[in-house]
């Protein structure tokens, strides 16, 4: 193969070089990508009550209160609780202290048993106590049961497990934390490379029963799973590209160029996150981070790449005459279709901001960026690579596979045509429109039912709820959740509130009494397992040291708080209280975000109605979960509607431009722009409705992942509709009638749409291999949805198109003007090109003259210098 030189193909070399340079420049961005939690700073609405409340609490750090994070080691005991369990717990507490010396660690080996008098309190468990011959397990259990500050919190109600709680500062590093937990439980150093394939912790035999509860660790595990997901997905993408593109294109090199384009787009997209972070670009007040949903953005890019690349090469292969460069030039007519597909996809992705969730917005922005890169590469890189390094589609051999494929495609397209010609076009129009409207109407019915159910607290048909634990199925964190959520145990989640006196500080005994009463009332809230605050311990000390239920004056209250502060240490106590407020934690299973919302609302209303002297401020991540679901509930229908109209409006504009650009001499019928636009959006309404039924049947919740289903479907399937309508319109411009144009678009050109449907479904089904259950469920839904979109594009839309055509007036002013306009544009562009060529020549000439002059001057300088030397 002869590779063309610089002189012949300077522009192509320049593009290839620019591509290589950009790839190199992307490296720092790729390395600087910041990881983000699933729901960290979830809602975009900064005026959201829960967001503002959380911020208010976070701003109390300089005043001594940390609204920080915690996680805990859950240590299940054997069948019978023995002293050995306590020894193991003590040993594990000490190991935890050694591993996390900079964090606050609380367990029965730290929590103090306050005696009446005598020595400063000792912990409930310590070495000398366990070594002592007088130690009685029964007495010890009684002692623990008498202290509500530790009973059922640090040890289970049935003495069947203990917890070692670690209090984290606000600036902790999740990845370091994960590595330390893994090295503690696995008793070895886990290398960072291992985390590329590892997404769970497997404790050694000594700690095999131990579990880890809490999101700081859960998020870090999710990060590991995400990395392995990205690797798996990329590998699958590579395989799909190889197995799909080569048979589609009939050229190894063309398949390789498309593969290269897709991989580069994924790389550029991820690197862009890093670069945006480096430049400090903020989206709604925060830099873009890499979250789990980047997988969806990647999938959109892969599907876009598989659509754009082969179609561009198809257009190239259509022209057989001329040099490669000339043939590529002729494919410019096809770029319009890529632009409109990309514009609709990007616009749909950008509408995701409506949902009001950061993760979804960022996914939309990244997918839009990725598709933008794809357009650039399809336009410039693919032609440049092919021109430089060759790669022609070979004539396909007549193999049985191809024959079967052809037969299948023909069968499918003929089947569609049969369906559309079985009855008259009018009957078909009413039949399929009715099917679509009934399907969509059913969804409105479900939405209405669920809206009423939400208000009355009944069970909805489609559950709305993002359950972050679904992203960690079967892991050590999930097992901890299952263990703690069993009846009689403390529960996996904690919803936290900061309770402040409206006036004064926490040392007021009346305030302490009020908070305790509130805490007791909170136990009556449905689903609340325990309700804890430092008041439990205050009561214990008050009883044992002063013989009082509560401290009776400020001095006593101050001394009690000082005692606890010194015993537990500031790292722990700064998360429990500060001078102006006390934290209350309600332990709940946290399986249902709707229940979480209700629990929160009930507590807030209790404070408002029964405790006028108190102020309750909800804080912590669990409140974000139920708020996120609220936004999904309220905003997803709006977003689906917007996506529908984005497709309709942009398609209408495109149809208008495209129709005016076609030859109209033979045309008898013309498409109505607006009706066609709406007809093109109908398949999505139908497919989206089908998915709602599927979700109802399979009990798939509407969560952050499934909330994007419409937009992802639009991005992937818009080209089915677009290519069909374009072929249909082209047939009309050639003078065909409705049925003729239908046959042409379906049976002559429609095969590629079937291939597209299958390939897109195949790509989405890759998501089913994801470690994350919601992403995997979404993959399954989208794969099925592609077939629904296909049915919409090849059956419903063609039937509806019957009412989108009208007789064409040959003298329509717009067409005559458009014709003149195109002629004008053509001649103008030819002039512009001639002018630019003249300009380039002029610059070249000037450069040559300049160079010669410089050269001569240099020679004369040399002479003068020689003269100077000789005279000297």
């Amino acid at each position: 193969m002869k590779i063309p030189g610089w002189r012949e193909n300077g522009k192509e070399w320049l593009i290839a070089a620019a591509f290589a340079v950009i790839c190199l420049a992307m490296i720092p961005g790729f390395q600087a990508v910041i990881k983000g939690g699933l729901l960290t700073n979830g809602p975009l609405n900064k005026k959201d009550y829960y967001f503002q409340s959380d911020q208010k609490v976070q701003n109390l750090r300089p005043k001594g209160f940390e609204g920080g994070d915690q996680f805990s080691f859950v240590l299940p005991f054997g069948e019978k609780f023995t002293k050995k369990d306590l020894e193991e717990m003590l040993d594990f507490h000490q190991k935890t202290k050694e591993v996390f010396p900079e964090y606050g660690v609380l367990s029965l080996a730290k929590a103090v048993h306050y005696s009446e008098t005598g020595e400063l309190g000792d912990p409930y468990v310590y070495e000398e106590l366990l070594d002592s011959e007088n130690f009685s397990l029964k007495d010890w259990k009684n002692k623990v049961q008498e202290d509500p500050g530790v009973y059922q919190f640090l040890i289970g109600k049935e003495f069947d497990y203990a917890q070692v709680v670690v209090f984290l500062p606000s600036d902790y590093n999740e990845i370091e934390l994960r590595d330390k937990i893994a090295s503690l439980l696995e008793k070895r150093e886990v290398s960072k490379w291992e985390w590329f394939i590892k997404h769970d912790v497997h404790p050694v035999a000594q700690y095999v029963k131990n579990l880890v509860s809490g999101w700081p660790f859960g998020r870090a595990l999710m990060d590991a799973a995400l990395i392995s997901d990205v690797l798996i997905l990329s590998a699958l993408a590579l395989i799909v590209v190889v197995f799909v593109l080569y048979p589609m294109l009939g050229s190894r090199r063309q398949a390789f160029y498309t593969w290269l384009m897709i991989v580069a787009c994924l790389y550029w997209t991820r690197s862009t996150i890093g670069w945006l972070g480096i430049f400090g670009f903020e989206l709604y007040g925060e830099v873009i981070k890499e979250r789990v949903y980047i997988l969806l953005a990647f999938t959109a890019v892969i599907i876009g790449g598989i659509s754009f690349g082969p179609r561009k090469f198809d257009a190239f292969s259509y022209f057989k005459e001329g040099t490669r460069r000339e043939r590529w030039k002729k494919t410019c007519w096809f770029d319009g279709k890529i632009y409109i597909v990309a514009t609709i996809a990007i616009s749909s992705f950008l509408t995701l901001y409506q949902i009001g969730i950061r993760g979804i917005l960022e996914m939309g922005v990244l997918a839009a960026i990725g598709i933008f890169y794809l357009v650039l590469m399809t336009k410039w890189l693919l032609p440049a690579l092919q021109t430089l390094f060759g790669g022609e589609a070979k004539e396909r051999r007549d193999t049985w596979v191809l024959k079967t494929g052809e037969l299948f495609l023909q069968g499918m397209t003929r089947g569609c045509l049969w369906l559309l010609t079985r009855f008259s076009p009018q009957v078909n129009f009413f039949l399929f429109l009715t099917i679509t409207l009934v399907t969509v109407g059913g969804v409105f019915g479900i939405a209405w039912h669920d809206f009423q159910a939400h208000k009355s607290g009944e069970k909805p048909i489609i559950k709305i709820g993002t359950n972050p634990i679904d992203y960690l199925p079967g892991t050590i964190v999930d097992r901890a959740r299952q263990f703690l959520n069993q009846g009689g145990r403390v529960g996996f989640g904690r919803i936290t509130f900061l309770i402040r006196p409206k006036d004064g500080d926490i040392y007021n005994p009346d305030f302490l009494r009020e908070v305790y009463n509130l805490q007791q009332q909170a136990l009556n809230i449905e689903g609340v397992r325990i309700s804890k605050s430092i008041i439990d311990t205050v009561k214990v000390i008050s009883d044992r040291q002063y013989g009082l239920d509560f401290p009776e004056n400020r001095r006593q209250a101050m001394d009690i708080f000082t005692t606890i502060d010194w015993d537990l240490g500031n790292k722990v106590t700064s998360q429990l209280w500060y001078d102006k407020g006390i934290a209350i934690a309600l332990a709940v299973p946290a399986n249902d975000s709707n229940q979480l919302a209700r629990q929160t609302e009930v507590l807030l209303s209790k404070v408002e109605n029964n405790f006028p002297e108190l102020e309750a401020i909800p804080f912590g991540r669990l409140h974000i979960y139920h708020q996120t679901d609220k936004y999904i509930r309220e905003n997803v229908p709006l977003n689906v509607g917007t996506s529908f109209w984005v497709v309709a409006v942009l398609a209408a504009i495109w149809i208008s431009i495209r129709t005016h650009g076609m030859n109209f001499r033979k045309r008898k019928l013309v498409m109505s722009n607006w009706r066609t636009g709406i007809a093109m959006a109908l398949p999505f309404a139908f497919a989206c409705s089908c998915m709602v039924y599927l979700m109802a049947i399979l009990k798939i919740p509407l969560d952050q992942a499934t909330a994007c289903i419409m937009v992802l479907a639009v991005a992937a399937a818009i080209d089915f509709n677009l290519h069909f309508v374009d072929d249909f319109n082209e047939a009309l411009s050639e003078g065909y009638d409705y049925l003729g144009a239908l046959e042409y678009a379906l049976c002559v050109k429609g095969g590629i749409n079937i291939v597209d449907i299958v390939v897109n479904a195949l790509c989405f089904s890759m998501l089913m291999f994801s470690n994350f259950t919601p992403i995997s469920r979404l993959g399954m839904l989208l794969a099925i949805m592609m077939f629904a979109c296909g049915f919409g594009a090849l059956v419903i839309m063609p039937a509806v198109l019957y009412y989108c055509i009208k007789p064409f007036n040959q003298r329509a002013k717009s067409f005559v003007r458009a014709d003149r306009f195109y002629c004008l544009v053509k001649s103008f562009s030819a002039d512009a090109k001639a002018l630019s060529r003249f300009g380039v020549d002029l610059v070249g000439f000037a450069a040559q003259v300049g160079w010669r002059k410089l050269h001569l001057r240099f020679l004369s300088f040399d002479k003068d210098w020689g003269k100077g030397c000789s005279s000297a």
């Binding site: 750090r61 300089p62 005043k63 001594g64 940390e66 050694e98 010396p101 900079e102 008098t117 005598g118 020595e119 400063l120 000792d122 310590y126 000398e128 500062p169 606000s170 600036d171 040392y507 040291q545 002063y546 004056n553 001095r555 006593q556 101050m558 001394d559 708080f561 000082t562 005692t563 502060d565 010194w566 015993d567 240490g569 500031n570 790292k571 700064s574």
Partner: protein, 263 residues
């Protein structure tokens, strides 16, 4: 012939092992003696000519979050050959006002420490197990409150780590017979003045905190830091202990070092 060669090699090996082993032990004994002398002399100087001492001081604790806590206290120390006695009384803020601590040090035995909360009628004893806890939300542990005035030399082994023109670096390791709060301490002692400029405290293998003695003031040959700064690595906070008023050998009634002080 082979057997003889093997025997010779074994003998030579044994001789070399014995030489290096005993030599290193001898070296250790010598350095221990010298290092211990330096530390002992430093503390001797610290107490030279001082029988009683009164300090009014402010403790400022600065957290990484920006939260700052300030406390004022009076510390009275009685220097005795058989063990010092220290009493501390907080004067502000309101939360800790009236809180008292009494420490009796005794050579070769665990210290006696009592804590009195203002609202309680009786003081509480701080057992050896609890001496490692931080005291009064500062970076001083109960044990440190005493070690600021002297060192229980019999409880530790000392070894030179490093030395330069100005300073010695001496490692203090606790002996098995005492209940140690820290696994290791490293003293940085100025050669010229024998003033302890810096102490690194370790728990396990990790550096827990570093104490800097600053603004050294001389009372005859006795040295006193007017400002002590402790950087706590584990707690992400810094304690600045600033002496506002110091009196050397003032007349202080003995009751300030007796249990009656706590009532």
């Amino acid at each position: 012939m082979n057997r003889i060669a093997i025997l010779l090699i074994v003998l030579l090996g044994a001789l070399l092992w014995a030489y290096f082993n005993f030599a290193s032990q001898a070296g250790a004994a010598e350095t221990d003696f010298n290092a211990r002398e330096v530390v002992a002399q430093s503390w001797k100087n610290f107490q030279l000519g001082v029988k009683t001492e009164l300090e009014e001081a402010n403790a400022r604790v600065v957290y990484e979050s920006g939260y700052v806590e300030e406390k004022s206290m009076i510390r009275r120390t009685l220097y005795q050959s058989d063990g010092n006695k220290v009493s501390i009384e907080f004067t502000s803020p309101r939360r800790v006002e009236g809180l008292k601590l009494l420490v009796w040090q005794s050579e070769g035995a665990p210290d006696d420490i009592w804590l009195q909360m203002p609202s309680l009628s009786r003081p509480r004893r701080v057992s050896g197990r609890n001496e490692g806890r931080f005291f009064a939300d500062t970076d001083f542990t109960f044990r440190d409150t005493n070690q600021l005035a002297g060192e229980n030399l019999s409880g530790y082994t000392y070894e030179f780590l490093d030395s330069n023109e100005d300073h010695w670096k001496i490692k203090a390791l606790p002996k098995e017979n005492i209940k140690a709060v820290y696994s290791k301490r490293i003293f940085h002692i100025e050669k010229k003045s024998l003033v302890i400029k810096k102490i690194d405290y370790f728990r396990g293998e990790r550096l827990n905190k570093t104490q800097y003695n600053k603004d050294i003031e001389w009372h005859g040959q006795a040295w006193r830091p007017n400002r002590i700064v402790i950087e706590n690595e584990f707690q992400d906070r810094r304690t600045e202990f600033q002496v506002i008023n110091r009196q050397i050998n003032p007349e202080i009634p003995m009751r300030f070092w007796q249990k009656s002080f706590l009532r």
